[in-house]
């Protein structure tokens, strides 16, 4: 039945004055954050903050990065090389259907290679991977988990991340050694965190991912290549947390000791609460510019070793994006910046190659229906014998 719009409308109108007040509050906090960011222009302030962040890391509760330069540092893009290649990979998935007799799921990777310059050409393709039974991949026998564990969406997303890295490695393996190249992935470079509490599953998933990253790293070292991931309109507050530490009135920012009794939004550092990284850099950067590099200290990277990432922010035509780059690729920062900007420019605000990789990867509802039809009809047409639930049968035979 349609939603009760009248009921909903009265609730929405009550929201309006609250939104206005929140906007005013947010403006105040953003101004405070910008003041703190601009105060970094003084070498002394910057050095003090760097030191504060490092020395007291185990005493403050906020995840803040290591700084390499003041917040207000910006870099303009340069012209890309005459000839270069852009690789991009994106992935999608079909999750298990609880009502289907077949316990399987699918990961699909979209793979794009575009060469620019004197010999422009492109290759667009996608590769599906079917996981079945004990989740051994049907094609190359990888990804074994545990037959008693049902693969939920977070596990599948983690597996998908690994296969995206593997797909990128395949593309990189065919790159000419000397041509400047960019490999761009969608989302964060840290693997999707599974919600499973099973530590064995967590270890297997992470181990597979790190092994894939290691293979990519080794291959990348033989090419003129930089690997990045692209996050559109990021919601993170990681860099802002550094400003929190900067705003802390105590010489030693010991959160538990000084502020554990204070409610949220009343601590001194809450002057910048609710402000996201992108809100600050929206004001600090001009179109095409990138920020300084930040070295993440997020605990999600604890086991990543040399694959720990750094990141910077870029301003596109109409948004701030976060570019993550593994530490083994940061020597090619300028190449990353220039080629990402080139892609954004060609794509009218979003990287062309990433967009096409997404189009290759995406599984439309018609494809999804075809997939389940093939699976369900695999062993014949008798739906009951196949163990299809009544719910599934009812879904397939829609009637009035």
């Amino acid at each position: 039945m349609p939603i009760d719009i009248n009921n909903l409308y009265s609730q929405i109108t009550q929201l309006s004055p609250q939104i206005v007040q929140e906007e005013s509050d947010f403006t105040r906090r953003l101004e405070a954050a910008l003041d703190l960011a601009k105060s970094q222009n003084s070498n002394n302030n910057f050095n003090l903050l760097q030191k504060k962040l490092k020395l007291h890391r185990h005493e403050y509760q906020w995840t803040a990065p290591d700084l390499t330069a003041p917040f207000t540092t910006s870099y303009n893009p340069s012209q890309p090389p005459n000839d270069f290649i852009v690789l991009s990979v994106d992935g999608s998935q079909i999750e298990p259907d609880r009502d289907s007799p077949a316990d399987c799921f699918l990961v699909n990777t979209g793979e794009v290679v575009i060469q620019y310059g004197t010999s422009p050409q492109a290759s667009l393709s996608n590769t599906p991977y079917l996981f079945w039974g004990d989740y051994k991949n049907t094609q190359n026998d990888q990804g074994y988990l545990d037959p008693d564990i049902h693969a939920d969406s977070s596990i599948i997303a983690a597996i998908r991340d690994t296969y995206e890295i593997k797909a990128m490695t395949r593309l990189v393996s065919n790159l000419p050694s000397n041509m400047p190249s960019l490999g761009i992935l969608d989302g964060s470079l840290s693997q999707w965190k599974t919600t499973s509490q099973n530590s064995r599953i967590q270890n297997i998933l992470l181990t597979d991912y790190l092994e894939a990253l290691e293979e990519l790293k080794e291959l990348a070292s033989t090419k003129n290549l930089v690997i990045v991931s692209y996050i559109s309109a990021p919601a993170t507050k990681e860099s802002i947390n550094a400003l929190r530490i900067d705003s802390c009135p105590f010489s030693e920012p010991k959160c538990k000791e000084h502020c554990s009794d204070l409610p949220a939004l009343s601590r001194p550092c809450d002057i910048v609460a609710k402000v996201r990284d992108r809100d600050v850099f929206q004001s600090l950067l001009k179109e095409g510019q990138r920020s300084a590099l930040f070295n993440t200290r997020s605990t999600t990277m604890d086991h990543y070793g040399s694959h720990t990432v750094s990141y910077f922010y870029m301003k596109t035509k109409d948004e701030i994006v976060r570019i993550e780059i593994p530490n083994w690729s940061t020597s090619s920062l300028d190449l990353a910046h220039n080629l990402v900007w080139n892609q954004i420019d060609l794509g009218n605000g979003y990287p062309v190659a990433l967009h096409e990789a997404h189009e290759q990867a995406v599984i439309r509802s018609s494809d999804r229906n075809s997939f389940w039809r093939i699976i369900d009809n695999m062993d014949g047409n008798n739906l009951i014998d196949q163990g299809l639930s009544r719910k599934n049968i009812a879904k397939k035979r829609r009637k009035v």
Binding site: I114, P120, Q121, L124, N174, V352
Partner: protein, 218 residues
């Protein structure tokens, strides 16, 4: 280089790899019926011109058709082509900066079936069975063109066909057939005489077609 990717992708499927070496191949059929077939060209914008004589062969029956309509559009019907950056000053610049367009767009043509050849004899009627989807399409050589051009009923067949390009299909097809003659002008004059007989009740239409056949005298 990128060509390696293409070759590697193609080599996964032997049938596709062979297309690189297929002589005279211009397209592959993607829709087929008794009256027409739709074919996708191997490369963007490489369709035979309108009115060209093309063929496809299955079980020793060569189906002959005249190209009636050509179109280039997005491979994915859910994605449409939109204007690119205004700073580009030519289409060459656009394609050079967007090589992916060659993979996202396709050129197709529709061809009107006008007969078939069986054991080297041209029959000006539809083959019993239309060609299969994924049959390969070739452009016809002068030997086949001559057989078709000499058919007494070919002009009537062309005029009776209701095509998307209307009378321009008639003009283009007759010009193609005239290439088989050593005296093209004479051939077209003879075509004009036949058109007068066929279209004597449609004077305006007839005049228009004749004018298009011979623009110098219009």
């Amino acid at each position: 280089m990128i060509k390696d990717y293409r070759v590697k992708i193609l080599r996964k499927n032997e049938g596709k790899f062979n297309k690189l070496n297929k002589p005279n191949r211009v397209a592959e059929i993607v829709e087929s019926s008794s009256l027409t077939f739709k074919a996708q060209t191997d490369d963007l914008y490489t369709s035979p011109s309108m009115g060209s004589l093309v063929s496809t062969t299955e079980n020793n029956i060569m189906t002959l058709a005249l190209v009636e309509y050509i179109e280039t559009n997005s491979i994915d019907p859910g994605r449409i082509a939109i204007a690119q950056d205004k700073t580009f000053t030519s289409s060459e610049e656009i394609y050079s900066n967007h090589p992916e367009l060659h993979s996202l767009l396709r050129t197709i043509f529709f061809a009107r079936v006008i007969g078939h050849i069986n054991k080297d004899v041209f029959y000006p009627n539809l083959p019993e069975i239309p060609p299969k989807i994924h049959s390969l399409v070739q452009q016809c050589d002068s030997h086949i063109l001559k057989k078709v051009a000499e058919s007494k009923t070919i002009i009537a067949n062309i005029v009776q066909a209701k095509t998307m390009s209307g009378d321009d299909f008639i003009v283009a097809s007759l010009k193609t057939l005239s290439l088989s003659s050593t005296d093209q002008e004479e051939y077209l004059i003879n075509c004009g005489r036949v058109l007068v007989e066929l279209l004597y009740t449609e004077q305006q239409r007839l005049n228009l077609i004749l004018a298009k056949l011979n623009p110098q005298q219009s």
